[in-house]
């Protein structure tokens, strides 16, 4: 049987990889890819805590499903924003979208 | 439990005895037996697939008043083997600027997305790969992999026609997934389970009598999901040549083609399972597991024949009409049907089967009639509007 710590460390590593992607990619779409990895690592934790805790308490799975919904909403709005920005400014590089910067 | 009722269990026990007799540990023997089962199923499916090519060509020939393949072997039965030899010895080209790895993975994923569907298809009460209790969702998940394969093929070919074809096909597949998933939920409501074995066991009355409208919507969504005419957006020959598989040659194209045929046959089988009682046919499945397999293969062939019938009878629908049809008509209708079915199911719970069946049937027919009436009103208005525009533009031209 796999101990709980393996799942948690695996999720922490996936979270850190996603964080690196968010912090260091230039392309806005690539930043969103990193966010997806981070959301997934959270979901692994939720599912692992459901399995290793009291199985009849469904909170872990329920909130994993709500994270799915949030991720879908986030991607839809985020990519719509990226496409809208691309249409107006002809770039998706996060550094160059700096009109609001003073 | 005799061999005729549960052949897989008997065969597995027999193999287990042999393997452990050779001094193999039990767990390794189990894995090996499982692998052999998968191998047997896939091999049978591939052989069936070869004959599906022949069936498809013969049937289309009959629809078009021709003879079809009739030179190689009796009734042209050896023709698909000649086709395969030709595909294998054909030059395997890769277009310049193609993304080689993605380009080569795409046909495999396409074939795989069809083959993994058979893991949940119950061929007989005991002959089933795995009786997942989420079987209905599993179909959609496998379809998602097929979508991915198409977009990978279209993008990596480095060809405009391929990319446009992939875009169109993916738009169609993603949108028609919604009514299809909704229609999968209707047998789920009746049976109280998403597992296919449970759905079949619960079908004392075929679900097509309970929900004829659901069966029709599922058939339409399935045809769109398969990418076959009248919804063959990916391969509109007159518009984008061969669509996403234009650059593929030899056996790689063969994998797309065989995958499509097997996919159509598989969805014929799902029609049979979800709405026509699966392997059940007047108690025939109790006699022998082999008869059950024969029944479900027969039903799958009938479903496949209906899909072919639609394909070779109707002309292609334009992409915007098709997406508008899905989003403005089919999806709202599917959601309404789901709600009406759930409501009727709650209202009629505990009544006699006759009242339940006739209530469900009548609500389905009424809903379908209302939907068609609404669509007719809409199209009349639309026609009046379009014709009005035409006359005004004509008058301005004249004036």
């Amino acid at each position: 049987m796999v101990p709980l710590s393996w799942y948690l460390i695996f999720a922490a590593a996936l979270f850190s990889i996603g964080l690196f992607g968010v912090l260091s990619r230039r392309n806005a779409v690539a930043i969103l890819l990193g966010v997806e990895l981070m959301l997934n690592s959270v979901n692994i934790n939720l599912a692992a805590f459901w399995r290793y805790g009291d199985v009849s308490q469904m909170a872990g799975q329920v909130f994993a499903i709500i994270v799915f919904a949030v991720a879908a909403a986030e991607v839809a709005v985020g990519l719509a924003l990226v496409i809208s920005v691309y249409r107006r400014r002809n770039t998706v590089v996060a550094d160059e979208i700096n009109m609001m910067k003073w | 439990m005799s061999f005729w009722n549960d052949p897989l269990k008997i065969a597995a026990d027999w193999l287990m005895g042999i393997f452990t007799g050779w001094g193999m540990p039990e767990i390794a023997a189990q894995i090996l037996i499982g692998f052999l089962g998968v191998f047997l199923l896939v091999a049978l499916l591939m052989v069936l697939d070869i004959f599906l090519v022949w069936v498809e060509r013969k049937v289309v020939a009959r629809f078009q008043d021709r003879l079809g393949p009739n030179r190689v072997g009796p009734w042209g039965l050896i023709q698909p083997f000649a086709d395969i030899i030709k595909l294998i010895i054909k030059e395997d080209t890769t277009p310049g600027g193609a993304d080689k790895v993605v380009y080569n993975i795409a046909p495999m994923l396409s074939m795989m997305s069809v083959l993994i569907l058979w893991a949940v298809v119950p061929l007989a009460p005991k002959i089933i790969g795995v009786d997942l209790n989420i079987g209905a969702l599993y179909i959609i998940a496998a379809g998602a992999i097929g979508t991915l394969a198409i977009i990978m093929a279209g993008w990596s070919s480095n060809n405009k026609f391929a990319l446009i074809g992939a875009f169109r096909q993916v738009a169609v597949m993603v949108s028609f997934e919604i009514p299809m998933l909704t229609m999968l939920l209707i047998p789920t409501i009746f049976a109280g389970s998403m597992g296919f074995n449970a759905i079949i066991e619960a079908q004392d009355i075929w679900y097509v009598f309970l929900a004829p409208l659901a069966a029709v919507i599922f058939l339409i969504a399935a045809i769109a999901e398969l990418g076959r005419a009248p919804f063959d957006m990916a391969e509109g020959e007159s518009e984008i040549v061969a669509g996403f598989n234009i650059e593929y040659s030899g056996m790689k194209f063969g994998m797309f083609y065989a995958g499509e045929l097997l996919h159509a046959f598989t969805f014929g089988g799902f029609m049979g399972i979800l709405f026509f009682g699966g392997y059940r046919f007047f108690g025939l499945e109790q006699v022998s597991a082999f008869l059950a397999v024969a029944v479900i293969v027969f039903k799958a062939f009938i479903g496949y024949w209906i899909i072919m019938w639609v394909k070779y009878t109707l002309m292609r629908i334009r992409i915007d009409h098709m997406l508008a049809f899905n989003w403005k008509f089919l999806t709202p209708l599917a959601f309404t049907l789901l709600m009406v079915t759930a409501l009727m199911n709650a209202l009629l719970a505990g009544t006699s089967p006759w009242i339940y069946t006739s209530g469900m049937f009548l609500s389905n027919v009424a809903l379908g009639w209302i939907a068609l009436e609404v669509a007719r009103r809409y199209s009349r208005r639309e026609r009046a509007r379009v014709e009005g525009v035409v006359t005004t533009s004509r008058s301005t031209l004249v004036g």
Binding site: S5, L23, R25, N40, A47, F63, A64, A71, A72 | A141
Partner: protein, 175 residues
């Protein structure tokens, strides 16, 4: 080492490797495809955790919808099909340092937690996690409110995405 542990380690390595490729690959389409394989690894992880419903929904939602959406977005936001220029910003080393620190911090925190080496009790026989999940999602004394809020969020996101991405110039000419 049991078979389950071996499968878990292979899955975790596959997922983390794909994750690294997602954040480092120069070609954005490749990054999106690597994301698909990372998400597939996560789906296998759910299956290992006996959360079959989550595993299948992961494939349907993430691979069938989100990854496809990403591939579309990548194709729509490029002037040509090749990626030029650096894909990392100038202070990427800072991001790398921060993410290593986050991982180290999480690892350190987990070390001090007593429940870490817990093992799972076997699923009780006759326990159907899917019907339990369905009941939990719609029963008023469980999670019906978060479920409804999630659906409202989805509708809001749908409307918002259509409004933001709608191009008035290429819009419906009938109006």
């Amino acid at each position: 080492m049991t078979g389950e542990q071996i499968i878990f380690l292979l899955t975790a390595l596959f997922t983390l490797g794909s994750g690294v490729m997602v954040v480092t690959s120069r070609n954005l389409i490749h990054a999106a495809l690597w994301l698909v394989s990372a998400l597939f690894g996560v789906a296998v992880t759910y299956a290992l955790l006996d959360a079959a419903f989550l595993a299948v929904v992961q494939v349907v939602v993430y691979i069938g919808a989100i990854a496809i959406l990403f591939i579309f977005a990548v194709m729509l936001t490029r002037k040509d099909m090749r990626d030029q220029g650096p894909q990392m910003n100038t202070n990427w080393w800072f991001g790398a340092l921060l993410s290593v620190l986050v991982f180290g911090g999480l690892f350190f925190l987990l070390q001090g937690w007593s429940g870490l080496s817990r093992t799972a009790s076997p699923i009780p026989p006759g326990f159907d996690s899917i019907s339990e999940l369905g009941n939990a999602l719609i029963s008023p004394d469980a999670y019906v409110l978060p479920f409804e809020v999630a659906s409202v969020l989805l509708v809001a996101a749908l409307i918002g995405a259509v409004y933001v991405a709608f191009n008035p110039r290429s819009g419906d000419t009938r109006k």
